[in-house]
Amino acid sequence: MFDALSDRLRLALSGLSGHGRVSEEDVDVAMREIRLALLEADVNYKVVKDFVRRVRERAIGAQVVESVNAGQIVVKIVHEELTAILGAGDRTFRFDGSPAVIAMVGLQGSGKTTSSAKLARWIVRQGRQPLLVAADPYRPAAVEQLITLGKSLDIPVYSAPAGTRVVDIASGAVAHARGSGRDVVILDTAGRLQMDEALMGEIREVHAAVSPTETLLVVDAMVGQEAVSVAEAFHANTPVSGLVLTKIDGDARGGAALSISAVSGLAVKFMGTGEKTDALEVFHPDRLAGRILGMGDVVSLVERAQETYDAKEAEKLAEKLKKNAFTLDDFLEQMQQVKKMGPLGSIIDMIPGLGGAAKQAQQAIDRGELAHVEAIISSMTRAERADPGILNASRRRRIARGSGTSLPEVNRLVKQFGEMQRVMKMMRGRGGKFPGMPMGPLS
C-alpha cells in the first residue's frame, strides 16, 4: 500500500541525511520530489500545493537537536502533516438508534455493494443485527449480487419488486427492520455520476425520508484528480459523514483519500483491503501516514494477527519482528498462519520495510508455491533451519532431493529468506534512530 509514494519520499529525503542543519536548499530539493510524488499518487494538485507550502515553512530553519539529522526532521514534519490531513474530521462510526440507518453512496463501480456486505459483517462482529437493503434498482443484477452476498454472510437482505421507488424501498426497509428486530439498516444505493441530477435528487429524497445516521461515500483508491469534485458534489446533495476507501489492496497510491480529507474535512472511516467480505479495516490516520513514509505498521499487523492467533501468539510475533529472531521455522509458520488469515498483501504492507521480499512471498503463495516451501523447509535439519548460513552445496542438493523440488528452488528460498532477514535487521537499526516518531505502543 502506498509503496511507490514511500519510496519516492525516502529517496527525496535520503539526500538530506548527514547535514547538520535544515537549509533552504535542502528543503527545496526535497519539496520538488515530494510534489511530484504526491501528484503521481493522484493527490489533488491544489492540495499538493498547500501541503508543500506548509511543510516547507515548517522545515526551513527547524531546530536541529542532538543526534537527529535534517532528513529525519523533514520526515517527521511530513509525517505529522500527512497525519493531520488524514486525521481531519470525525472518524467515529455511529450506529446507535433504532434502527440506525447507514446509507452507502458513491460513483458507479467504486465498490458500494461489496463494501455494504463487508460493513454488515463488521457490524455483526460488534454485536448488532444489520439488515442489508438492495436500493439499486437500475444496474442489472445489483439486487441479486447483494442477496448472494447476504446469503453467504447469513445476513438478511431486504429488496422490493422492480419499479419500486428508491425512497419507498428505504422507508419500507426501515419499517421492516423495526418489525423484525434488526437494529442497523444498510442502504446499498445505486451508483451514479455526480452530474446526474435525477439520481442526486433521489439521494436527497432518501435522506429526507429516513435521515441516515451515517452517509458513507465509497471512494475507489484508484480515482484521480476528480476525487475532490466527486466528494463535493455528493456532499452538496446529502450530508456525507465519512469515507470508505476501497481497492487499497492494489498498488494505487490512494492520493484520493488525502485530497478529499484535505478539501472537505471528511474522514476515512473504513478501508476495503480485498475481495473477500472480511477485508474491511478501521482507518488509522497516523498508521497510514507511517505507511506512506515507509515506516510500516506493526500495530495493525498485530491487531490483525490477533483475530487469528491467541494473544500470546501475537505477542511472540511482535517480539520476533522487533528482535529479528526470525528463523526459517518461523518463516514457514508465518506463511501457514498468513494463509489462514487471508490475503497476504494487506498484512505484508504493515511489516516495516518488507516491501520487495514480502511481495515475493505473496506471489509465491498466489502461485501455490507454499507447498514447495513447506517441503523444502521440512527437509532441512533443525540446525539448518536455525542457521541457513550452514547450507553448503551438498546440503542444498540433499534438501532438493529430499523435498522433491529442484536446486534452484532451494537456492531461491534461502536467498529470499536471507533478504528478508537483512531488511528486518536494517529496519531495526533505523527504527531506533527515530526518536520523535509515533510508532505505537510496540516501539
Binding site: 489533488n44 494538485y45 448472494t148 475507489d220 484508484m222 484521480g224 505473496q362
Partner: protein, 314 residues
C-alpha cells in the same frame, strides 16, 4: 458477415463534446484564457501545466507536453498545446475490429480490467453494436467469481437477444471459455465476447488466470487471433498506467475502452497509457444506453477538451 468497421465518425464528435461538457467548463476555459496571449508568461505555462495535471495527464507528461508546446514557434500557444496533445495518440486507420481470423472462424474478444470499470456494460454495448451490424454474437459469462455477475450479463444478453454461455458461480472461467468456443464454432457465430471477473493487476494468480483463458481460446480455435480489450474507468488516476502495463504483460492487450467519460472526469491518463503501451484507445463509453459506446477519435477527444469545433489536428 461484414466485419464491423471502426473509424472516425463525425456525429460522434458532437456527442463526445456534449458528454465532455462538464470537462470543458473549467479546463478549457482556463487553458483558453491562460493561453489567450501570443507570448504567455512563465506563470501562465505553470498554470496550464496544472490544468493538464488536473485532467489526470500526470505530472511528468504534463510538464513534457507544456515544454514542447512552448518550444513551438510555428503556431500560437493554444494551437501548439493542442497539437502536442494530439501527438500523443497514434493515427487511427480504419481497420476491421475485431480481426476476422478466416471464413467460418469466429472473432474472439476477451474483455479485461480491474473491478468496477464497466466491463459488463461495455460488453453489452459491443454486442448490441455488432448485432445491429448483422453479426451473430455469443457472450461468454467467464466472470464466475463476483456475486451475481452471471445474472448481470445474462440479463443484458436477454435484453439484446443474444445467446450466452454460462456455468455455475465459482466454476473455472477457462471451462466456460472452452465451452463458449465449442458453441461458437458449432452454431456458426461471428463474434464471441468473453466477460471476465474484475481483478486488481497486482494479484499474480488472477493475472495468470487470464493468461490461462487466453491459452484456452487458442486450444479450441488455434486460428483465433483474439482481441484483448482493456476497460479503463475515465475517473482513474495515474494508477491506470500501472494497470494497463500489467494487463498488457499478462494478456497482450490489443485495444482500450475508456468508460464513464460522461462523468466530469477527463480521462487524461489515456494519453500516458497509449504512449507507453502502444495499445490504442478504440472506444469511449459516454452513457448508460446501449448506443452510448462510440469510436474513439483523438481529434474529437482533444478538441472536446478545448471546446473547439474539431478543426484542430491533421
Amino acid at each position: 458477415m461484414t466485419a464491423p468497421e471502426r473509424g472516425a465518425a463525425a456525429p460522434d464528435r458532437i456527442l463526445l463534446q456534449n458528454a465532455l461538457k462538464p470537462t470543458r467548463q473549467g479546463f478549457a476555459e482556463r487553458v483558453k484564457s491562460l493561453l489567450g496571449s501570443d507570448h504567455p508568461a512563465d506563470e501562465t505555462w505553470e498554470e496550464v501545466e496544472e490544468a493538464l495535471i488536473s485532467a489526470d495527464l500526470g505530472a511528468e507528461l504534463a510538464i513534457e507536453v507544456c515544454d514542447r508546446a512552448r518550444a513551438r514557434t510555428d503556431v500560437g500557444p493554444q494551437k501548439a498545446l493542442q497539437l502536442e496533445l494530439l501527438q500523443l495518440f497514434a493515427e487511427r486507420k480504419p481497420v476491421p475490429w475485431p480481426r476476422i481470423p478466416g471464413p467460418g472462424i469466429p472473432a474472439v474478444i476477451l474483455v479485461v480490467g480491474v473491478n468496477g470499470t464497466g466491463k459488463t456494460t461495455t460488453i453489452a454495448k459491443l454486442a448490441y453494436r455488432f448485432k445491429s451490424l448483422g453479426a451473430k454474437v455469443l457472450l461468454a459469462a467467464a466472470d464466475t467469481f463476483r456475486a451475481a455477475a452471471i445474472e448481470q450479463i445474462s440479463s443484458w444478453a436477454e435484453r439484446i437477444d443474444v445467446p450466452v454461455i454460462s456455468h455455475a458461480a465459482g466454476a473455472d472461467p477457462s471451462a466456460v471459455v472452452f465451452d463458449a468456443m465449442d458453441a461458437a464454432v458449432a452454431r456458426g457465430m461471428d463474434v464471441v465476447i468473453i466477460d471476465t471477473a474484475g481483478r486488481l493487476h497486482t494479484k499474480a494468480n488472477l493475472m495468470e488466470e487470464l493468461a490461462k483463458i487466453r491459452r484456452t481460446i487458442g486450444k479450441r480455435i488455434p486460428e483465433a487471433r483474439p482481441e484483448v480489450l482493456f476497460v479503463l474507468d475515465a475517473t482513474t488516476g495515474q494508477n491506470g498506467l500501472l494497470q494497463a502495463k500489467a494487463f498488457n504483460d499478462s494478456s497482450g492487450l490489443t485495444a482500450i475502452a475508456l468508460t464513464k467519460l460522461d462523468s466530469t472526469a477527463k480521462g487524461g491518463v489515456a494519453f500516458a497509457i497509449e504512449r507507453s503501451t502502444d495499445v490504442p484507445v478504440l472506444f469511449v463509453g459516454l452513457g448508460e444506453k446501449l448506443t452510448d459506446l462510440r469510436d474513439f477519435d483523438p481529434n474529437a477527444f482533444v478538441a472536446a477538451l478545448f471546446a473547439l469545433d474539431g478543426s484542430a489536428g491533421s
